[in-house]
């Protein structure tokens, strides 16, 4: 554990150094993030010019929900994506050898060797949206709610990481699956609506088959003081199952992997 933390710190320091070198990338990523942020604010301001609520959620609550969506943006583009981005290409070129021979857990090394400093902006903008949402409703979350919401977010991060890693591992099995890195993050699109906004089979599917509808809804509800532990249990089960599945899929994938180098 200590060794892994030390490595994470080293990788993070490396991220800071590279971010300072590639300043144009830093600026462009910032523009991308701010652009999506502006669009989100304009989109919901505009919609709420015509409606009073979505699935009984007020305008402020919807902004809190969008805030959590931005937090998941940070998780994907800031934490998971930078390391996994080139995994399909590395597999094709047989460059995984360099990681397999290191005396550290290979899945850890593949998953967390690089971060994106500029995606931290997503985190801050997400928190800003939440603050704005509460301000609109003239309310504030309790400390108990905030702590529980953070814990729920950790469970969600585990689920998202494991699901993402498992899908990216498919590139071990098929050639030229480079766009696979964009596929799993797309399930978060279903988290932009409160889970209560879905009906029938879609609601059931997005709660019990792939709990995408809970990704932003559940931590938001905890901030509102609505402690839905049933949803947390579902997310926890999925997170554990997804982690186990990712370990198993990776082990099977490595068996299939054959180096292209010496």
């Amino acid at each position: 554990m200590k060794k892994h933390l030390k490595l994470l710190l080293t990788f993070f320091r490396y991220t800071i150094q590279t971010s300072m070198i590639y300043r144009i990338d830093f600026i462009v990523w910032t523009l991308v993030t701010v652009g999506w942020f502006i669009f989100t604010v304009v989109f919901y301001q505009l919609i709420f010019g015509h409606i009073t609520g979505i699935a009984d959620w007020t305008k402020g609550q919807i902004f809190v929900l969008q805030g959590f969506y931005f937090v998941t943006n940070f998780l994907f583009w800031g934490i998971f994506y930078p390391s996994l981005e080139y995994l399909p290409r590395k597999i094709t070129k047989g460059e995984i050898d360099f990681l397999l021979t290191k005396p550290v857990n290979t899945q850890f090394l593949i998953s967390f060797n690089e971060f994106s400093l500029n995606s931290f902006l997503d985190l801050f903008l997400g928190i800003g949206l939440m603050w704005y949402g509460f301000r609109l409703d003239n309310t504030a979350p309790s400390l108990f709610g905030i702590v529980q919401s953070i814990l729920v977010m950790i469970i969600i991060a585990m689920f998202l990481y494991a699901g993402y890693f498992t899908t990216v591992c498919l590139s071990f099995w098929a050639d030229r699956l480079e766009n696979i890195v964009y596929f799993f993050p797309q399930i978060r699109e279903f988290s932009k609506i409160p889970q209560q906004g879905y009906t029938g089979a879609v609601k059931w599917m997005l709660t019990f088959i792939i709990p995408a509808a809970l990704i932003a809804t559940t931590p938001s509800q905890f901030l509102f003081g609505d402690y839905n532990y049933q949803h947390v249990a579902i997310l926890l089960i999925f997170a554990i199952m997804a982690l186990k599945l990712s370990n198993w899929v990776f082990a099977q994938s490595i068996k299939k992997y054959s180096s292209a180098s010496s």
Partner: protein, 243 residues
């Protein structure tokens, strides 16, 4: 191929479900009915599958590693090759990402599919072709800029963001606030979705056909000049090692 279709399909499904949850509450936005909005987003999906030319991704990594040399040393135009390869991929992709979903939607929700008149059909094809050319030129421009910066992929994300914001793929442009709509109507991204969809759904276009066609051609010329200029500079700058 399959993943791209699923990727865009999921996005459109999520947007339609968002609107459904809004309309379930009995609200209406901008005079649209739910079925009209659903038709709009279905059109966004189909038109996007034809017009988007996201081929820069394949080449940016090769510029970084120097492998792009294999194209530059051959006696044919790299740019032409990139476009032709993308068109052939897109033609193959057509069955999976356009025909099959169209059949499924035609069976499940035929009210979301519209058959345009022959006259409108010609206008749609005209703008689809221009839109693809604009998309291809932007992709080539990003590839060319990739010779100057290390992480060219960030530009691809910038393009996606601008397309999401100004093409009308996330929201019909006539629902935008005036200031944002005016900006969108000046930029080339509207040809990616908003303009062909206006003809497809036979909604009144914001400007005349000739104005929009002229603007699209101006953008094609402008992008072509900039792309060629950066290409010449990029070739002078490029160095690679190895065989």
């Amino acid at each position: 191929m399959f993943f791209w279709a699923l990727f865009h399909g999921l996005r459109i499904a999520a947007i339609i479900l968002l609107w459904k949850s809004i309309y379930d509450a009995g609200d209406a936005v901008g005079g649209y009915t739910f079925n009209q909005l659903a038709s709009y987003y279905i059109a966004v999906y189909f038109i996007g599958r034809v017009t988007s030319a996201d081929f820069e991704d394949d080449y940016l990594g090769q510029i970084k590693s120097g492998e792009i040399s294999k194209y530059l040393l051959k006696p044919f135009s790299f740019k032409r090759l990139a476009v032709i390869q993308n068109i052939s991929w897109r033609s193959l992709n057509f069955t999976v990402s356009v025909l099959l979903p169209a059949i499924v939607i035609g069976i499940v929700a035929p009210q979301w599919l519209t058959l345009p008149s022959p006259q409108m059909g010609i206008a749609i094809v005209f703008f689809l072709v221009l839109s693809y050319i604009i998309g291809a030129l932007i992709s080539l421009l990003i590839i060319n800029i990739g010779f100057f910066i290390d992480q060219g992929r960030t530009l691809q994300h910038l393009k996606w963001m601008l397309t999401g914001l100004f093409s009308g793929s996330s929201l019909p442009l006539n629902l935008y606030p005036d200031w944002l709509r005016h900006i969108a109507e000046m930029l080339p991204f509207q040809f990616n979705n908003a303009v062909p969809i206006a003809y497809y759904l036979q909604t009144p276009p914001s400007h005349s056909f000739w104005y929009q066609a002229g603007l699209a051609i101006v953008w094609v010329v402008l992008l072509w000049i900039v792309m060629e200029f950066v290409w010449v500079k990029a070739l002078k700058r490029f160095t690679a090692v190895g065989s």
